[in-house]
């Protein structure tokens, strides 16, 4: 009788897993082959034929090794989040900000809505570009296996970053004003939050989300057509 343990160990020597896991797999597959061989022998097959019939179960050991590796590969939740949210999100944020800075450097003037302290600035070309950036973030996230919520979060990531910046800016400003002793007029703060919230968060957010939704729809349609085609 062949040494099944040794045979499996030799044929699957390239399994890039930790030693204990590799030993477990070798032992499990060897036990399967051994049992299979014994059943063939009990059925009356000569030893040589029983070995052949047993080994026929694995046509390509390299392929089996590759499949086991894929099946055993663990993607940590953190890695998933990096691929599905952080990379697409930061890329969307960086590219959209670079585009905005470029527009400002090229001398594009913002469109001013309102008057006095309530004026809201809109960079029309930037806003027009945001659906594309939102779509890019959503596409990368969906490509990385992101689900609906993650895909949409990745697409609106630039406004999430801006929201975080605003939320940090106000308490910091409040602390500074307390230190230097000048009184804070909360009506001005509230107006500023509303004004900047509309100009830098709400409207850009809608534009980014539009792109994100479009990509999500396309991805859904693609997977639907795959399902209809039955693999």
């Amino acid at each position: 009788m062949p040494n099944w343990q040794e045979l499996v160990r030799q044929r699957l020597s390239g399994l890039a897993l930790d030693a204990a896991e590799k030993d477990e797999i070798h032992a499990e597959l060897a036990a399967h082959l051994e049992e299979s061989y014994e059943v063939f022998c009990k059925e009356g097959l000569p030893q040589r034929e029983a070995v052949q019939r047993t080994l026929v179960q694995v046509a390509d050991w390299q392929d089996l090794q590759r499949k086991i590796l894929i099946a055993r590969r663990r993607e940590q939740p953190m890695q998933k989040r990096v691929h599905q949210l952080w990379i697409p999100g930061f890329l969307t944020l960086t590219l959209s900000m670079i585009f905005l800075i470029t527009l400002q450097k090229l001398g594009f003037q913002p469109r001013i809505v309102g008057s006095g302290p309530n004026t809201i600035l809109f960079y029309a070309p930037w806003l027009a570009s945001l659906p594309f950036f939102g779509a890019l973030g959503a596409y990368l996230s969906a490509w990385g296996g992101g689900l609906l919520g993650t895909v949409l979060l990745a697409s609106v990531f630039p406004v999430l970053a801006l929201t975080a910046a605003f939320l940090l800016m106000f308490p910091i400003g409040f602390v500074i004003e307390r230190i230097i002793g000048s009184p804070v007029d909360f009506s001005i703060v509230a107006t500023a939050i509303l004004r900047d919230g509309i100009g830098w968060i709400l409207v850009p957010g809608v534009a980014l989300l539009a792109g994100g939704f479009l990509v999500q729809l396309l991805f859904n349609r693609r997977s639907l057509s795959k399902e209809t085609a039955i693999g």
Binding site: I25, A27, L29, H32, V58, L64, I68, E227, I230, G231
Partner: protein
């Protein structure tokens, strides 16, 4: 809605269904499936284990080493609660597929 990966789906449904009856090791599982499907479904070692490992990663089954009465150590698989939960929609999906195919073949023969 019929899901993707029909082949994979068949194999997963077969494994989850046999494990519903109790824990068993890979070889026994393959034999049971072959016997119960009268040879229509056959799992070679190369097809079975990558799938078992993948299903284990998904948390649908759990493998543990056990020593049998003859002193041999075997890795036995059990259905997890997540696996049980997976089984019913999978069954529904397959029933739907078969109904759809039956309708289709009836139309084709009409």
């Amino acid at each position: 809605m019929i899901g993707t990966g029909i082949k994979r789906g068949t194999a997963e449904l077969a494994v989850l269904s046999v494990l519903e009856g109790g824990a068993m090791h890979g070889y026994e599982m393959a034999r049971r499936i072959e016997r119960q499907t009268k040879g229509a479904l056959r799992f070679t070692l190369a097809a079975l284990y990558p799938m078992l490992y993948r299903m284990e990663q998904h948390g649908w089954i759990r493998g543990a080493w056990e020593t049998s009465s003859n002193g041999r150590r075997k890795r036995c698989y059990r259905l997890t609660p997540a696996g049980r939960k997976k089984l019913s929609p999978l069954r529904r999906e397959w029933a739907e597929l078969f109904r759809a195919l039956q309708r289709l073949t009836k139309v084709a023969h009409a």
